[in-house]
Symmetry: C3
Subunit: 152 residues, 3 copies
């Protein structure tokens, strides 16, 4: 089953990825490695769940935003590569969680992106990952996800 078919089976629709908010590009492929710009969850031009997790934003909301970041990463890869079937492996995620003081469950937030990628790619979706707290993110995002993938 192709990744496109798998996305349909999951009922997942990829929207066009948001345009970068500054002087950079969404994806750079060097050799067989694709580096993606950091993704923040944007829906209809609005930041999804702005604020700090553990304060204005709940863990469940931030997990959902992280899932959305994963979807946007897929959309960016598809736009760059033509087809997600060219992605042979998700390699690494760095997940930055805007964290209220004392909030230490960054991995639960990050699972939103990780689980989505594993649902879509199966074993090839399993990646190394680092999750950390940060005090502020661009546009007051609650989570930002940086993805490295392997391409054929």
């Amino acid at each position: 089953m192709s990744i496109e078919e798998r996305l349909k089976e999951l009922g997942v629709e990829l929207l066009p990825p948001p345009k970068p908010v500054a002087s950079y590009v969404p994806v750079v492929v060097s050799g067989r490695v694709a580096f993606l710009a950091g993704q923040g969850a944007i829906v209809d031009g609005e930041v999804m769940y702005p604020g700090h997790v553990g304060a204005e934003v709940t863990i469940d909301q931030a997990n959902e935003a992280a899932r959305r970041c994963g979807l946007q990463a897929l959309a960016a890869l598809k736009e760059e590569l033509g087809s997600l079937d060219r992605v042979s492996r998700i390699v690494n995620l760095t997940v930055y969680v805007s964290s209220a003081p004392g909030f230490t469950q960054q991995p639960v937030v990050a699972n939103g992106a990780s689980d989505l990628l594993i649902e879509v790619f199966g074993e090839a979706g399993r990646h190394a990952r680092t999750a950390v707290g940060v005090p502020e993110l661009p546009l007051n995002l609650c989570v930002e996800v940086s993805v490295i993938a392997e391409v054929d």
Copy 2:
């Protein structure tokens, strides 16, 4: 001298690496590059020196925790590769230090991991590095270390 012999000479014993606390894997090898999941110092299932450096945690304690992160990274690489002799170079470290307000000696903390890797691998252990402060880390870790290595 093999890396395993070097570890014995240093009196360093690698314990089985802690299991990832969420939906990811400890190491992904893509081409000749190994990306490791972020390591936090865990001893006998307990976080080593939880808290913020410059407040509950001293620089020396955090340096020791960073060294432990380096050891865990070696254990993860050994489990993935079979032998550390397949590691041809330590390429890059990103070190996230849970920092109390005003704490700016992140490099001293990060040296705990860097120095360990240079002790073990010699010149091949010298790496590029970025050290930054963060407000919170998963499990209230005082330091988290992300490693990229080159493999044969």
Copy 3:
């Protein structure tokens, strides 16, 4: 036109890069990928605009510091590679902005480095990028920039 000629045309002079402040090296090349140590803006041995953006440091100052980080990255690459003409692509930037509470314009700061690299390398200077806020940086830097480049 060579990159060296382009630098002259832009009136940009590369000074010798600052020495690493700890146990690491400025650049590691693995395969065709160069990983650079995190750059903080240092001028004549002094930190340029120390402090937090949105408090003691303005956005314009931090943007200027980020540009300086980009220049230092070029100087480090030139020292490692002999010539910047061996750089075939700027691949990825991670930009850590020391952020006062409520400061969310990290991308504007990061553009200082991004725009410099695009001025120098043109299309080959366009990179993927992640910009995040952090609470503290080494030496009280206002911004730290981590660069990955592709080399011939």
